[in-house]
């Protein structure tokens, strides 16, 4: 079965990528997970991994080429598989050079209505480009689930998209929730939500960020940490672990911040999967602590350490850095007082953690020295409104200032 190698969004903000160098050549055998090429993103040099096994049959964007995210840069298929149809099927997706201006929407072929019932739906979701080979049943399923067929790779004869491909594609973005139908709830967008989304995007770019900052008194958290670390020789608990634990616990009380912005709907999660930003040599990656709300502080400590180690050694599998529902980014160790983080879509929120510093503060009319830390929450305004984010951040602060509240 042929697999298209697509330019992937290797950083949260990446829109296009430059192929620095292919590590595999046409004709090389590759297996799923292997690194195919080095890609320069807007932030760093990242690795493009194979999403299927077979032979790298065709490279469509050579070294040095800059292509949009989602463009086909190569094809992996069986040695003797006919990939001709794959090459022709989607010509406009074939790595257009960067210089080429975006085609006006009007030049796209009009969607071909399948039946009167489908025609109406098709006008609201025009295919992104060209003719997509798909079975009638697959088309219906995709339409019903709001899935763009152009992004689905087909396993039928000649790369035709069939039912199972749509079913697989529909579950791919949420590996954590697969099989647990109660893991989240999709809420269709109300008109006012749609209008807010549209207007905010127009004014602020793809994700309309806004920021909320609060200062947290970390005295009690620091004491608690010292006690815990003095108990035995288990994994040492860092401030960040305590923050992760508090954020996870707070998110269970504020589901409206534990959400994804998806095309046409908002997905609210009942489970908390925390993306934890880890600086790596030439960039940033966010391994995910699954079901963080159900894990003990000690489990979180052990897991975040292990994931960070493997992130630095580039041993993470895609499943380990995708599917998060909320992010935490900490630059406190670099003595950054406060900063604003960039949201990791489709997540709707992120907390940026600054350093803990001793400061003079007024407590009970006296000036005393306390350990203080600033948290800045970035919110996707399409999902989270000001007061919603503020209430959540308040819960996080209260939990950190009184760590017992985490287990309350």
């Amino acid at each position: 079965m042929a697999t298209k190698v697509l330019m992937e969004a290797l950083s949260p903000t990446m829109e296009e990528g430059k192929v620095l160098s292919w590590l595999k050549r046409e004709g090389d055998t590759v297996s799923s997970g292997e690194v195919l090429a080095e890609v320069e993103t807007d932030k760093a040099v990242m690795e493009l991994q194979a999403r299927g096994s077979g032979v790298l049959r065709k490279i469509l964007a050579g070294d040095g080429a800059t292509v949009e995210v989602g463009s086909i840069v190569g094809i992996i298929a069986a040695a003797d598989e006919d990939i001709g149809s794959l090459l022709q099927a989607d010509p406009s997706k074939q790595a257009p050079p960067q210089a080429e201006a975006a085609k006006p929407a009007a030049s796209r072929p009009p969607p071909k209505p399948e039946s009167p019932a489908m025609a109406a739906a098709a006008t609201t979701a025009p295919p992104s480009a060209g003719r997509v080979k798909a079975s009638p049943l697959a088309r219906r399923l995709a339409e019903d689930r709001g899935l763009e067929l152009a992004g689905v790779s087909g396993s039928g004869p000649g790369g035709r998209i069939v039912k199972r491909d749509v079913e697989r594609a529909a579950i791919r973005p949420l590996p954590v929730a697969a099989g647990t139908s109660s893991g989240y709830e999709d809420v269709e967008l109300s008109q006012i939500r749609k209008t807010i989304a549209k207007r905010l995007v127009q004014s602020l770019g793809p994700i309309p960020h806004f920021f909320l900052t609060t200062e947290v008194d970390m005295e009690r958290a620091a004491d608690a940490r010292a006690h815990l670390n003095g108990l035995d020789d288990g994994p040492r608990i860092s401030f960040n672990d305590i923050i992760l634990k508090a954020v996870a616990a707070a998110l269970t009380q504020h589901r409206d911040c534990n959400a994804w912005w998806l095309d046409g709907k908002i997905r609210y999660f009942n489970e908390v999967h925390l993306s934890v930003a880890v600086a790596v040599q030439d960039g940033l990656i966010t391994p995910v602590i699954r079901n963080a709300h159900m894990k003990s502080l000690r489990q979180i400590a052990a897991e975040s350490r292990e994931l960070a180690d493997r992130a630095r050694n580039r041993k993470l599998t895609p499943e380990e850095y995708t599917g998060g529902t909320f992010s935490v980014s900490n630059l406190g160790m670099f003595d950054i007082d406060q900063f604003t983080g960039v949201i990791n879509p489709p997540e709707a929120g992120l907390i940026a953690v600054g350093s803990i510093a001793e400061k003079p503060v007024v407590v009970d009319a006296d000036v005393t020295v306390r350990r203080r830390m600033r948290l800045t929450m970035s919110c996707d305004h399409r999902v989270i409104d000001g007061a919603t984010g503020a209430r959540f951040l308040q819960t996080v602060r209260r939990m950190l200032e009184n760590p017992l509240a985490i287990v309350w």
């Binding site: 079965m1 069986a78 040695a79 003797d80 598989e81 039946s115 079975s135 009638p136 049943l137 697959a138 219906r140 399923l141 019903d144 004869p157 069939v162 039912k163």
Partner: protein
């Protein structure tokens, strides 16, 4: 000195010989080992000769019943089963020779004799050793069996198999058929048309136990009209085999009955040809059901050994075996064939009316708690069927209520075996009931009933 081939295939039935042809097409040097006639059970003592006899039965019924209404009056009708058998043998022989011709045409070496599998992709036939460089394919199939545990041992006179039935000089005056699956129902049709008093005995609650309940009921109604006795939910618990008759003890619905007939035809299951083929020593393991254990690529537990056809598991159908033969040939040749959709293999019973189906029965839809809609169209409302006086039966389509996916389709009709394929193609390509309707169907045809059943499932049937 051993002869070497790329692939050696044990068995020249519809799985084996098709595998050989496809292998040869892909440039492999192939040998087929066959101990009997090429074409296997299907061509020689199965599908093909029984279709010839069923046509004789059809003509017998036609001239006796409908011909007069159609303006053709015939004199006294004489039925000669021996002549019907002779025709069926000619058809079989022609087909078997045809397979031989195809083997020659594709340069396939045919080795006559019983092949025994040895370790390391080696096969011996009559003391000679043949080695396969790429693969050995087991396609040894099945054979008839009796039920000796209840006294029904095959004896070629009073307790016979289908192998014997296909060579009878005349039909028995009374016959009990044990097993009312496709084979049992087809022989009930044949024997009844040629004048036997037929009793069809089935242990499961309906004749054609694997078919949709409505299909089975429609055939039962037709059989009843022709005075075929049917006992369902009936277990043969014992048998008293005399020289010229057999008395069966039958338990049904809590009561016991005896059925005395001239002949008993055993049509309940077949024995797998797994003995004496050298499986043990070659490392080929079997499943609990006695089939050869295979993976998704039909590889057995022995390196380089594949299994196809009946021996590789149900459904035991010639067309399933042939497709597996093509699939394995392509795997051996290093290709990646499209996976076989085992849930989309048609099943057909060729009695009158014919019964054909694809996919799920309504009972299976219920069992799986699927949200489905039924569309039906009776042939009594179809012009072409009226014209040929073959209005028995219907088309029934089970579709998913949300997307229109065709979950299953069931046809009882004079040509159900041909009509079903529109739905097989549709399902294979994931067409929904709407695509069936959108394709214009010629008028007047039996196929219109398929389109009408699709429309009926959408609540838009035209002709009822």
């Amino acid at each position: 000195m051993s002869q070497t081939f790329d692939a050696i295939i044990l068995g020249g039935g519809p799985a084996g010989y098709v595998c050989a042809i496809r292998s040869a097409q892909l440039g492999l040097k192939v040998a087929v080992v066959e101990r009997d006639k090429l074409g296997g059970v299907c061509v020689n003592v199965g599908c093909i000769p029984s279709k010839a006899l069923l046509h004789s039965a059809y003509v017998a019924n036609l001239v006796r019943h409908d011909a007069k209404t159609l303006g053709v009056t015939v004199g006294a009708v004489t039925l000669d089963f021996g002549t019907a058998i002779k025709h069926s043998r000619q058809v079989s022989d022609q087909n078997s020779k045809g397979v031989g011709f195809l083997m020659k045409k594709h340069g396939v070496t045919v080795i006559a004799g019983t092949g025994t599998l040895r370790k390391g992709k080696t096969v011996t036939v009559d003391g000679k050793t043949y080695t396969a460089s790429k693969a050995v394919v087991i396609a040894t199939g099945t054979r008839v069996k009796g039920l000796p545990q209840i006294g029904l041992e095959l004896n070629k006179s009073t307790v016979i198999s289908t192998d014997d039935a296909l060579f009878l000089p005349m039909v028995p005056s009374s016959v009990a058929i044990v097993g009312a699956g496709a084979v049992g129902c087809e022989f009930a049709d044949i024997f009844n048309a040629f004048g036997s008093a037929v009793t069809l005995i089935e242990v499961l609650p309906q004749i054609l136990p694997l078919e949709d309940q409505e299909s089975a009921a429609a055939l039962a109604k037709s059989f009843q009209k022709r005075k075929i006795t049917m006992m369902t939910g009936a277990k043969v618990s014992g048998a008293n085999v005399a020289d010229t008759s057999v008395t069966l003890d039958v338990e049904a619905g809590g009561s016991r009955r005896t059925v005395t007939v001239d002949t008993v035809l055993m049509a309940a299951g077949r024995a797998l040809n797994t003995e004496g083929v050298g499986f043990d020593s070659a490392g080929v393991q079997l499943t609990d059901g006695g089939f050869v254990k295979v993976d998704a690529n039909l590889r057995t537990t022995a390196d380089g050994v594949y299994a196809i056809g009946d021996i590789a598991g149900p459904p035991m159908l010639a067309h399933k075996g042939s497709r597996e033969g093509v699939f394995v040939a392509e795997v051996i040749a290093g290709k990646t064939p499209h996976p076989i959709r085992y849930d989309n293999i048609p099943s057909v019973t060729y009695c009158h009316p014919e019964v054909a189906s694809i996919g799920l029965s309504e009972a299976q839809c219920k069992e799986r708690k699927l949200d489905y809609v039924v569309g039906r169209f009776p042939f009594s409302a179809n012009g072409r069927a009226r014209a040929t006086m073959e209005t028995d039966g219907f088309v029934k389509i089970l579709r998913d209520s949300r997307y229109g996916e065709i979950l299953g389709a069931h046809i009882v009709a004079s040509h159900a075996s041909e009509l079903i394929h529109e739905l097989v193609v549709a399902r294979e390509n994931e067409y929904t009931v709407e695509e069936i309707d959108l394709a214009v169907h010629a008028h007047p045809t039996l196929s219109e009933a398929v389109a009408e059943a699709a429309l009926d499932s959408l609540g838009r049937v035209i002709h009822t």
